[in-house]
Amino acid sequence: MSLSAPTHGGMPGGILQRLMRTPGLRRLRGSRALLVGLLLLAAVVAVALSAGLLYPGDPRDMAGPAGTWPGVDARFPLGTDMLGRDMAAAMAHSAGTSLTVGIAAAMLALLVGITAGVLAGYFGGAVDDVLMRISELFQTMPSLLFTIILVVILGPTTASISFAIGITAWPQIARLVRAEAVRVRRLDYVDAAVTLGMGHGRIVLLHVLPNSLAPVVVAASILVAQAILSDASLSFLGLGDPNGMSWGSMVGAGRPMLRTAWYMTALPGGAIFLTVMGFMLIGNGLNDLLNPRTPVR
């Protein structure tokens, strides 16, 4: 391991080598999961991007008779809600919200997590101790409750929701990156860089950081999945951005109609499920392909 060549920026270290070592069966299973996941994600992204074209105008406007079941009226393939709004339009417009919050929250968690992980792993000692204690704190407390409190205090906007979700999710990334950074720090090329007189900043940025990112690739897509789920829970509890539409708030709004029109909750919930499933499958697939020795999937 200690003789592996350093990679300079770009691709996180050793992804190609890892792929070559993956046994055939696992590669097959991994690529199938990856394919299904990518297809699901592509569909959701396509819907999100074309929502404005397919359904121009405000999806909150009344479009037809209230409470039309899906498949009854050709104009409304997914039916209408209790106020006569087109379910398909509302769901299409919600796709963008979920993806935005999910990805923004994941980016924040990645940024904080990778920074904390690399610093803790590279410097060790007191820096490591302090950062890991903080990450333990975040892993101990009920993070959904913490997120809820932050959103209540800051007010529900897309930005505050993404922030509140992302800020609770970074410790898992920090721990993964730290473990890699600890390993990388001991490798010969880091010693060589020290001998050449490189400063901490350059060593971290050029050598430790790019070579510690491999496990993050898998974790990132799981992170987006979890963030979308948290966002859905928040909107279901009435803490969504009041200016936007979201699947979670649609489920919440359809709840009183459960007895007579359960499709109003079933459809948006199904959309959340498929989107999250897409990201999970991508994560699982990548895990099978890139980490052939981890038994858990």
Partner: protein, 327 residues
Amino acid sequence: MPTSLRYVFRRLVQALPMAFAIVLLNFLLLKLTPGDLADVIAGESGSATPEFMENLRRLYGLDIPVHLQFLNYIQGILHFDLGYSFRQGMPVGELILERLPATILLSLTAILFALLIGVLLGVVAARSRGSLLDEAISVVSTMGFATPLFWVGLMLIVLFSIELRWLPSAGMVTVGADYHGRWDEWLDIGRHLVLPAVTLSLFFLSIYVRITRSAMLEVYGLDFVRTARAKGLTEARVVVRHVLRNALLPIVTVTGLQLGAIFGGTVVVETVFGWPGLGRLAQEAVFSRDVNLLLGIFLCSSFIVIVVNLSVDLLYAALDPRVEVRQ
């Protein structure tokens, strides 16, 4: 000092800063909230002259420096004084104690159910590794991670309460029920418990499946398992007595670590099923923007997580002598 005692001591010393950090975080969030207690009371009373506000701030110690306020805050917490919820008209501490038993009942039932089914599926998956059954269990457990709990709950209500009419859809007891004795009442609570507990258990079920499967696969190839087989033990006995036993330790640890997530789950699940616990209380607090009450719930549930994890670790040290060696 014997090593075991030293370990207990060290774990206690580790838990204290964590508890302090939670208290500090809670205090900071309280200070971050726009509007203080005086604003809330003045708002409720509808009369807010500057003198009245001044008096209120003096009365509640809000006119002294922040670090002294923090000391007062800690003192309050040590006496389980978590402030007053003006929206609910009750002290926060009392509200929480009143709701805690329902949440404990729900969480424990959900964890037990998840353990039972999760471990079973995990064992089956590990025993039939690589087969179609293993694959199917893995897909199902991924789906468990990907499904929003509130949605599962609502769909279960549609199926079991509305269509089939087997189980009640909300609450913990039947309103206006006339019970014939204790047993009757428990049975009623039990019937109300089924759907929320199953919903809450789903996420953990998926975790247990994965942990059990991987822990079993790790131990399967080891020498002591081969010895057990060579002794002529039945396969069931090998699995239960030797393999599963070793898988139990990670399962216990994960349960402790996921406790925080359970509290998150109860907020959503109790909201769906109108279950009168802490989670439902949190949702009511969200609805009325009662930050003080939310912070009280946050503080209490965090402490519960710390205490449970501490107990798990200590139990661990008692069960598995290797724990200390590794330290």
